[in-house]
Symmetry: C2
């Protein structure tokens, strides 16, 4: 087991309905030293990629993306989930369905911050059915940019988001891939990588 | 002018309706090296404070809070703006009105992540009327924790949020305080600190 898998076993909680709660260290309370380790690991796994921007989605992707960005010395752009009056009308847009919140959101990125020169690493905390990720990929494509890689903290390997994204040819790296989990015993099985 | 004021003059855009757009480096695209400088400055300004946790609010506070947290070696907890099915029922709650989005939100923090032992530095990107900040202070108080300090990137000094918070006796540090700004000329005047 790697450092993140160990932490998930130690502090993650399996709930009914395929919910894995990692809110004590990943997406509500955030362990910055852990994020730093994740940044170093992503830097290793995407060592050959020419990355000049990190793209993520609010809210829980932002913290990880910012700490990871220190390892790549690049800025972060986060996709916003609702139209703010402070965003220019000139935005890239995608529709994203949230597994957690059971609702659809428009996610937007200002056209000023993504373009054909951008070589993007997409970062997010979770990958399940892949809807959020597909929205971010669609936005980078619309901007004419290149998705150089996708870095995920926790992938639910028993849902099909990861398989679809890999089938499409993207370089997707998930630090922990949960093959199965049991709410009764609390047991979590990870995919060998 | 300090480093943040210089950056605001260089890249900030003044819009009608007292809107200061800093989305190219602060709250949509995020300049991580700048955030790092902000973290070092907050560490200096709160050198005497005994801080074991940083609290912020989604979404645009999270990136700054995480980079600042590296300078204090503490975890970050971010208040969430809507009730997720992944949050336990046991939460602290405050109602917050957003200047930007013209709407009211419930913000919540899980009771697991704030308590009487917590000495909190609150971090946010903007301070205007102070509603978000008042909500976060109320949540820390409800938890029995102590607000040791409040670190803001950009304060709109011509709105009354900062004055109220300082009058209440909190140690509030804003890296840039805008005294006035002019949408026609683009001129921005900062308060001498």
């Amino acid at each position: 087991m790697n450092f993140l898998e160990e932490r998930i076993v130690k502090d993650g909680i399996v709930k009914e309905g395929n919910v894995l709660k990692v809110d004590s260290f990943l997406n509500h309370q955030m362990d910055i030293a852990l994020f730093d380790e994740m940044g170093a690991e992503f830097k290793k796994r995407f060592a050959d990629a020419n990355i000049n921007k990190i793209v993520t989605i609010e809210a829980s992707g932002i913290g990880i993306a910012c700490i990871v960005a220190r390892h790549f010395n690049v800025p972060v752009v986060f996709a916003k989930k609702s139209k703010s009056i402070n965003i220019d009308g000139d935005v890239y847009k995608a529709e994203v369905e949230s597994f957690t919140h059971k609702c659809k959101n428009n996610v937007i990125v200002s056209r000023k911050f993504l373009g054909p020169d951008d070589h993007v690493l997409i970062i997010d905390d979770f990958l399940a059915n892949g809807c959020a990720l597909q929205g971010l990929i669609s936005i980078v494509n619309e901007a004419g940019g290149t998705v150089e890689g996708i870095g995920i903290a926790v992938e639910k390997g028993f849902q099909n988001g990861g398989r679809i994204i890999r089938n499409l040819g993207f370089h997707l790296e998930s630090l922990a891939i949960v093959e199965s989990m049991d709410a009764t015993s609390g047991e979590i099985v990870f995919r060998q990588q």
